[in-house]
């Protein structure tokens, strides 16, 4: 698992130790470009922690560039596209207002790690949320497990899991699925 401290990237990008706020669209675009370059250096199948712990605040424009456009790069219509997954850490209520707004705008979702575990946040419907939570609870799941949880057939469970996979909210490992945030740091 890779770890990117967003505040470190911010300071490197701006070449200024004084700024700890993610504000303005050009700043956001520069930070995202740097994150993408770091992700590009990893394997085709990668999980990266995007850590906001040391970020003071983020405005809407910057959230659009750093979070929404980053996710849009890797949310795949093509199931064989590069598999880059992100786990967001250190996101406070102060950050969440802006991030939630841009997720809503682009119909995106992400996995957020908090003190009590990982949670899927943003734009997901009830079936997708239920399926994601079941995969997270089980650690590794196959469509039959999710079919029981959804009270649906296996084909419906496969369809929902495939949507979650394309949205990079669950990872496909061998013949099963693992939730982003559902692996220990050493397992990923």
């Amino acid at each position: 698992m890779n770890h990117i401290d967003v505040s470190t990237v911010l300071r490197q990008t701006l070449s200024c130790e004084l700024y700890s706020n993610l504000v303005t669209r050009p700043t956001g675009a520069a930070v995202r470009t740097q994150i993408e370059a770091l992700v590009a250096d990893t394997l085709d199948h990668s999980l990266t922690v995007i850590d906001f712990s040391h970020v003071g605040m983020i405005d809407f424009s910057c959230a659009d560039e750093v979070v929404a456009k980053l996710l849009l790069q890797y949310v795949a219509e093509d199931p064989d596209a590069r598999e880059a997954y992100f786990l967001f850490r250190g996101v406070t209520d102060d950050h969440w207002d802006a991030i939630e707004t841009v997720l809503e705008r682009h119909s995106l979702a992400l996995v957020l790690e908090t003190d009590d575990g990982a949670h899927v946040m943003g734009q997901v419907n009830d079936g997708e949320r239920m399926a994601w939570e079941k995969v997270y609870e089980l650690g590794r799941a196959v469509p039959a497990d999710i079919a029981i949880a959804l009270g649906a057939g296996t084909s419906e469970a496969e369809r929902v899991l495939e949507i979650l996979h394309r949205r990079r909210l669950v990872m496909r490992l061998d013949d099963g699925y693992v939730a982003v945030g559902g692996l220990g740091e050493t397992d990923a």
């Binding site: 701006l14 200024c16 004084l18 700024y19 706020n21 504000v23 303005t24 669209r25 050009p26 700043t27 003071g56 605040m57 405005d59 809407f60 424009s61 659009d64 560039e65 929404a68 456009k69 209520d93 102060d94 207002d97 802006a98 707004t101 841009v102 705008r105 682009h106």
Partner: protein
């Protein structure tokens, strides 16, 4: 011949219209003298809008400084003259700026690029937190939204104006209607393209007979429209509206010949004004009031 533009005794977003109306009768390249000798008070909007007036003139305008020592001294502390001396030929006694004015949260500051926005946000955070908590009785989490609001409005200048503008933030007491609440006011003014011209630069935009400054303001402020095709654009002002809604605040945006307002229950402004005297650029004001029992949150 020099045309004299008289600044009202009390200058805010409403009375600045008297200045604009006087200007409308003067050719753009004519010499003007902005006479503020009898002005006793100005909101941050008034100060930043006066600077945009200076910026918009083809020939450097004259500016007669307020005669009241207290007023001139306050304007100096608010940083007005530091910028005004570059835009106007100042006449009268210009006091030296002294520190110690607690109601000035952010003195008049120029905004022209992304670095300026970082500086403004960095400067405001600590002082705004204290002011919001102690004077407006708003919980500390409002500070982040306040800084976000400031950031987004300032970015409008960087992204859309095509030239620099100014921002100022100040706290004062609203005396127009009881209860006399404390307010924090953000004013951001520029003399750039304005909303209509900015939106018109989107390729393929269809302009019908209803398209004017008012329609452009409705498009940008109410519907989140932007001159960019990027679907992520236009979220800034939407976010500002969300913030002022949460804290019972007020937003006004004037551009060209129109002015739009998101009006809270404690104010009696009109939502949309059209056919105002023309003024270049965009002038934005956000007001966050003191929280009283029963205010929305």
């Amino acid at each position: 011949m020099t045309s004299v533009i008289t600044v009202p005794q009390s200058l805010d977003d409403r009375t600045f219209e008297q200045v604009v109306e006087q200007l409308a009768a003067v050719p753009a390249d004519a010499k003007v003298l902005v006479d503020a000798r009898h002005t006793r008070w100005s909101s941050p909007y008034g100060l930043t809008a006066l600077l945009t007036l200076g910026q918009s003139r083809a020939e450097k305008a004259g500016f007669a400084v307020p005669e009241a020592e207290e007023t001139a001294s306050y304007w100096a502390r608010a940083g007005f003259f530091r910028h005004a001396e570059e835009l106007f030929e100042l006449s009268g006694s210009v006091p030296k700026a002294k520190s110690g004015e607690s109601s000035v949260l952010l003195e008049v500051t120029s905004v022209a690029n992304s670095d300026d926005v970082h500086t403004v946000v960095g400067r405001i955070q600590q002082k705004a937190q204290k002011m919001l908590a102690t004077e407006l009785h708003i919980e500390s989490r409002a500070t982040v939204g306040f800084a976000m609001t400031l950031s987004e409005i300032c970015q409008n200048i960087v992204e859309h104006a095509g030239r620099g503008g100014w921002v100022a933030v100040q706290a004062y007491t609203y005396r127009q209607r009881p209860p006399h609440r404390r307010l924090i006011v953000i004013a951001v003014c520029d003399a750039g393209l304005g909303f209509r011209q900015s939106l018109e630069s989107l390729p393929g935009r269809v302009r019908d007979e209803r398209w004017d400054d008012a329609a452009a303001l409705e498009e940008a402020v109410i519907r989140g429209g932007s001159r960019f095709r990027d679907p992520g654009r236009g979220q800034g002002l939407a976010g500002v509206r969300k913030y002022i809604g949460r804290w019972d605040g007020k937003l006004t945006v004037r551009s060209g010949t129109a002015r739009i307002a998101i009006v809270p229950s404690w104010d009696e402004d009109v939502p949309l004004e059209e056919k105002l005297a023309p003024f270049p650029g965009a002038q934005v004001q956000v007001i966050i009031p003191e929280r009283v029992s029963g205010s929305p949150r």
